[in-house]
């Protein structure tokens, strides 16, 4: 119950944001994502073969590798979007294509590209993104907006937001949807110094609460994690 209070908020972004945590995240059930013998080809190139990895409660797995080494492709395989050539991804020992709903209920993905409806406002996008995953009321969204100090941006359409604001919107959505496993592709892209700290903060809190994270990042990711590993994709 007190676990998340131990973490000191590094920035003002954090101040009001705990309520949502208490609502959805205070106890994240233990879970495991494991991949066995994955193999993937693009064109005539084999990106990886015989790839095994496991991530469970409280772990941060950072996938590293040069540009084009296949990090994004690996993450997409792990989310279940991209079927691998061979091998299996399992969520709590169940192959993800058999337990799709259960898996997607607990997994959130932030891709390179921020997924927003260009024509909807920031608030509407947030409502939509959270509502896709669980029933919400607009009060919840208000508190998230307040926490991010975004009250005056709330009615700006997404296409008019700046690159960093769009990124933060993606991350805020992920955070508010109460997932156990976060899969993040370059989360720090376009974030300014303050927002970067905020992002690292929410990752830390998530891990402390028993969540797990798989991330790629070419920038250093300053996160204190209970258990942190790197995984290099060799080219």
């Amino acid at each position: 119950m007190l676990a998340y209070l131990r973490i000191e908020p590094k920035t003002r972004y954090n101040l009001g944001a705990y309520r949502l945590y208490r609502d959805h995240m205070s106890r994240i059930a233990s879970h495991t994502l494991s991949a066995t013998a994955l193999e993937l080809w693009r064109g005539d190139r084999c990106l990886f073969t015989e790839l095994n990895l496991t991530v469970s409660t409280g772990e941060l797995l950072q996938v590293t590798g040069a540009n084009g080494s296949g990090k994004t492709s690996l993450l997409r395989v792990l989310t279940g979007l991209l079927p691998p050539e061979a091998g299996h991804v399992r969520w709590n020992d169940e192959p993800i294509h058999r337990a799709r709903a259960a898996f997607h209920e607990s997994m959130g993905y932030v891709a390179h590209r921020d997924a927003h409806y260009d024509d909807l406002t920031l608030r509407q996008n947030l409502m939509w993104g959270i509502g896709l995953h669980h029933d919400i009321e607009s009060r919840d969204v208000d508190s998230t907006l307040e926490a991010l100090d975004w009250c005056e941006l709330a009615d700006v359409p997404a296409h008019a937001l700046s690159a960093g604001q769009r990124r933060r919107l993606s991350l805020a959505r992920l955070r508010a949807s109460g997932k156990s496993l976060w899969i993040l592709d370059e989360p720090l892209t376009n974030l300014d110094a303050g927002a970067r700290v905020w992002c690292e903060d929410i990752i830390e809190v998530h891990l402390e609460q028993g969540g797990s994270v798989i991330a790629t990042s070419h920038q250093p990711l300053c996160v204190r994690a209970p258990s942190r590993r790197e995984w290099a994709i060799s080219t």
Binding site: L81, Y109, A115, H116, Y117, D119, L120, G129, G131, L132
Partner: protein
């Protein structure tokens, strides 16, 4: 995590987007009107000659308006990553697709049903056939919508080149057109259109019940 509220919410989102893109949404209707009104323009508008092709023009115009509206309907979502997020929600993708289709149907068909009598009048279409025309349109449009969306889902990726939509969808839409036109023709000649309307209803039931699953599967495949 109930299905019904999710669907309602998604329908709300689609509705709001359609209102935002009002111009885009109205386009097919204008397309319909244009097709209908261009005919008498392109030809000499003699009433006798016109009555001969009124049925065909009305049906073809409807079909083309639907194709026009749907040609790239999942493009924007695929492009900006929204589709990916929809596919990653715990709910069945087919459900979210249904929400979208229902909104589209309302936005496209209702105005069409209002415009159709006007267009029919302008084309000298006999009044006695009007009610059948409207009934047939109501029954035919869900099929057009569902099949058009299947085509759009199969060709969703801009970089996958072919918006081969027309080629893919046209062959399957021909029966709808044939039955619709036959029902209308029979009714305007004063006889009962029974059989043809039944066929249309059957196709509608079939495509509405199976369509969303096919569309969802196609969308998932094209994300891979």
């Amino acid at each position: 995590m109930k299905l019904w509220p999710t669907m309602v919410r998604q329908a709300g989102v689609e509705w709001r987007i359609s209102l935002r893109r009002f111009g885009e949404v109205m386009n097919p209707l204008v397309f319909f009107l244009a097709t209908v009104s261009l005919f008498p323009l392109g030809l000499s508008p003699e009433p006798d000659r016109m009555a001969g092709y009124a049925t065909g023009v009305l049906w073809v115009a409807t079909l083309l308006a639907f194709l026009f509206a749907q040609a790239r309907q999942f493009r924007a979502e695929a492009y900006n990553g929204v589709l990916e997020q929809l596919a990653l929600s715990p709910h069945p993708l087919a459900l979210l697709v249904v929400a979208k289709l229902v909104v589209q149907w309302v936005i496209l068909t209702l105005p069409l049903l209002i415009l159709a009598p006007v267009a029919a009048y302008a084309l000298n279409f006999p009044v006695q056939g009007l009610s059948t025309l409207l009934a047939a349109l109501t029954l035919a449009t869900p099929t057009m919508l569902a099949l058009g969306s299947v085509g759009a889902a199969l060709t969703v990726h801009a970089h996958q080149g072919g918006a081969l939509l027309t080629v893919l969808v046209m062959p399957m839409l021909v029966p709808v057109l044939v039955f619709g036109a036959r029902a209308t023709d029979l009714a305007s000649a004063g006889s009962a259109p029974g059989g043809a309307l039944l066929w249309l209803a059957m196709l509608a039931v079939l495509s509405v019940s199976l369509g969303p699953f096919v569309i969802a599967a196609a969308l998932r495949q094209s994300l891979a």
